[in-house]
Symmetry: D2
Subunit: 342 residues, 4 copies
């Protein structure tokens, strides 16, 4: 940690900071400058010491700025684990050589609708089936999902086609129910910092699919993963799904593919991209799914609906079955280039 | 709702959209243009019809854009209720003539610390005591709050000084416990779209203090309030606490005071500003609290700690007691000018 | 254009808007709703009528919102010209089948440095040589470029290696000088709305390489192109170079690759991506350049320096020569997949 | 400057950085940590050394991050000049005890229109008259201003009423013309980093009114001022005019009043707020102008048009004369509270 003092900070102020550090058992290094003094704390602090010491020192007189010199996450870091994490769910590996595709409708609307979607997923060669049972909708007046009935349909259809299933839990107390039916627990973008949910997802022992919040930075994203991992559950997938756009005339969000190589460098966890929410427009999904593969993602999550114009939610971003099949072919064609299979 | 067709959309595509609308019982108005056709749906749709019809039509061929012409919220709107909502909690009115000040530390750390803070709040003339028992911290390694022990301290201290109390609930299942001890339930910025929590807070019947998410627009913010109100609980306060900054070198967030007159125009709910989180820097809190009053806010929430440099959380933004007292004097001086009392 | 009236707008207010429209020679279509009335102007307005009429009507009483139903740009639009624009500069085509790579250092620092860079560009198979002679630096104390001396070096080196050259003009009066030496005039991101510069670049008749401003939306970007084209110069390239990040801890900007398919759909102009500024970090450039190709870009601009750690500007994002060669090989390998050559 | 090495950086990499620093004449301080080493450069660097050394070291192997410990601006800093800068233009002082109000239309449209506006400005007690002669419009098809004819009208009307005048120059070569007619040269938000313009404005010796770019941070803003000051012209006013909004449904921009106390702390230059562009909506201007005064601004710039619904530009945000007069009365009433006059 580096503390930069204000220009004109007095000797007494500098010494007060130094004492505060010594009182906590560390030896400060004083770097006098022409204009302003900097103070370093060379020893690594525990994670639980860092944040508060920084805030406390910020409140001291004569202090201008406090900068952390190390990352705030630990278990999610590449430093903690050098090799890539590969998560095995039934016979599907996420984060390994095979690029995974998660497909399916925004919401489970009925057995027939979901079965039709699953048939397309299976038949096109994708391995993971998505669909929402509890829908976090911006408006209380929008369709809220079929709830447990939806989970049952998901499980039945998943079993029928031999597909791994993934669906969202919206709160900690919902986790056991979701865990009973689905193979992977999704944490939505709006819930990325729902800490009780993260903790329960961690306790469940099920693989967790964590979506990045629309205005979350890399550190915040990895700290959310850390909440799950801190419960002993290291099977966390990181999903980039688009950040807040300042211009949403043409796309709903901005898919931040640049975070893919960043996450692969600083973390060992699998990285998935969601070009459906990332653009919000079905006709841009294919290009961005391919770009995600080339940027280094381990998989994509793509919305597909048997009949988007009758969808009960998010119809504008869902692919029709034929386009989903085309996308699978695209990815297969491209996979050799990146040294993977699909 | 206005549907704008693509340039070169065919007659058949235009007719398909018109039929889709007629099938749902509305009469479309076709506005032919030189380059492109627009289609209007003049009848007001139910709120639960709007979102999906828009998404469905977006998925139809030849459609370029779908624009809503009415606001998506209802109960929170000024159209639903012309006069200002005044929320009465014990003998404190929020949204009435008296400008309310909510003060106290980020976290309840101990009985002594909280009592010292409450004494300052009371003594300076503020009426509402804040303090976190469950802390939503970005890092799992940071202090997480005293939990129920903190709630008990809050209640005891609040009773002792005759102050109304407010504290955060982080999940729906936590609401009954918080409601048992505190007078007002706070929904944090990170939880603004935690829909199960909003619903439980609505069911509790307790006044709800809803913080705006750091990247939430006005419609999303009011729709979150709508989730609470939809449970029959109309006692919701709206709190602006700073939006995501693209430059956080000098301040942590950007306090969006421009939303104050917007919310007062479009909603009847009380509006509170939080300059502590809005700036993240104690020495800017006073100026921004006063600016909030002048911009039309009904109150402010301000962090104050008996000893910020020993605080277990957020020390850098907490006022010391003397500055809090100065702020109360500032606000009292200014209140006559805006026709209020403090 | 659609005008949405406020709830409770009076008949007189609605009629005033209708009259205002009729006075300008258009026939308004009134769409009464349950809660609020909308008014449509079906005829296409001239571009110079649109903006002001919208602003004027916004200022009328009872008006809630004015929405444009058509795009504000014309010459840059796909509607104006269906087929892709291919810009021919010497023997290089931009926007055609061949994917173009523009490489070179941030600044022309000396003849030797620039020649060394050009040799790598040529030898690796790239066709366009970049380098700044006038540098727009955030600080007045940073290296500002070699000015005309740099232009001369660029021309001499470009001629020697048979490479097309591109460099930035920072103001309108600088355009003739830049046009004298360089083959393509670059408009920097900070200058995207420097209208006198856009107009002069248009008048020069030289191909123009227009960088998107860090907070420019699609409409603003294409309107900037429109300024150039409106002078009769239709040879404009659009360059995505990263938008403003809210988290710049790991990358300098957010490369918005999602805009590539959007621009290809709504405009006929060539689209180039700049992953060097888009990430600001040399080790992420390769992944993002490839992703840009797959997303549909017509080329990339990449910074490369013979010796980045001695660079006078932007050393942290420049590739070393070997990595630039590797990138060219990557792109060549990938090009077949997207049906192009490199 | 602090350089943080990567975890696992080798001794050789650390030594290479240290040597690089020594070669430039500074003595590095090595701070070994448990996980990673940090290296400090205690001596103050010249401003022209800072940026490049940081970029060069960023490009070296084993380096994780480079952090500046001092501000990049100098002449604009409070450290350079402790007391507030007061700019005297004719008999008006900006930055002194009197709060200044700059009023007038977006564009000078005709003598009659401008004279009518000026009469209101004068008569209500404001002292500075604004109006655009050259208009930077997003679209080339919008009204571009009366050019020199507009400047002449401005001067004539300003002289008639004894008002100080301010208008925008859009490029460096336009500065002498603008300086010939107007008292203050405005640099628009889109031109904040038009460096040739900043330099010419600096050379002109005229007071400069510098608007913050919509996505400019504090350092970038003050460095833009530094460009002007570096030419020996220290009469620069800083204007906050709203930053880029992610939700522009209700307001056009976000007026960042929190930057007012930040600028007053770190710089000695006068700070003005522009609530007209900051909100884009006439009916929110009054509240935000008052809030700006209370937040510590030295003045406001407000658009007012004799007849907004006939305005040739920006009619939706212009006040009508009566509201402008009301605002002046508001500010007069409030001025005593902040210890100023109007």
């Amino acid at each position: 940690m580096i503390i930069v003092m204000q220009v004109g900070a007095t000797e007494a102020q500098i010494e007060a900071v130094a004492s505060f550090i010594r009182d906590r058992g560390f030896e400060p290094l004083i770097l006098p400058g022409e204009g302003r003094t900097a103070i370093g704390i060379p020893a690594s602090l525990n994670n639980d010491q860092r944040t508060n010491i920084a805030a406390n020192i910020s409140a001291m007189e004569g202090v201008s700025r406090v900068t952390q010199t190390s990352h705030p996450y630990k278990l999610a870091s590449r430093e903690y684990k050098r090799e890539n994490t590969v998560i095995k769910v039934k016979d599907v590996e996420i984060g390994g050589n095979k690029f995974v595709v998660m497909g399916g409708p925004c919401s489970v609307e009925s057995y027939d609708q979901f079965e039709a979607a699953a048939a397309v997923v299976k038949d096109s060669g994708a391995t993971i089936l998505r669909g929402g049972a509890f829908k976090p909708r911006t408006s209380p007046y929008s369709f809220q999902g079929l709830a447990e009935e939806g989970l049952k349909i998901m499980k039945e259809v998943g079993d029928k086609f031999g597909l791994v299933t993934i669906t969202e839990a919206m709160s900690g107390d919902m986790v056991p129910l979701v865990a009973k039916y689905a193979d992977i627990i999704q944490i939505g973008a709006r819930s990325m910092q729902n800490f009780p949910l993260l903790i329960e997802a961690g306790k469940s022992g099920k693989p967790v699919f964590l979506k990045r919040g629309p205005s979350a930075g890399v550190d915040e994203f990895l700290l959310a993963a850390e909440y799950v991992m801190n419960q002993g559950n290291h099977n966390v997938m990181l999903c980039e799904r688009g950040i807040m756009a300042f211009d949403s005339t043409y796309t709903r969000n901005v898919l931040d593919l640049g975070i893919v190589p960043v996450l692969k460098e600083f973390s060992h966890l699998p990285v998935i991209a969601d070009p459906s929410h990332g653009t919000g427009v079905a006709r841009y999904v294919r290009a961005m799914a391919k770009a995600a593969m080339v940027a280094g993602a381990d998989g994509v999550m793509v919305e597909m609906h048997p009949n988007p114009k009758e969808a009960l939610s998010d119809g504008s971003q869902a692919l029709v079955p034929d386009t989903f099949r085309d996308l699978m072919n695209d990815l297969r064609g491209l996979s050799g280039y990146v040294g993977r299979t699909v």
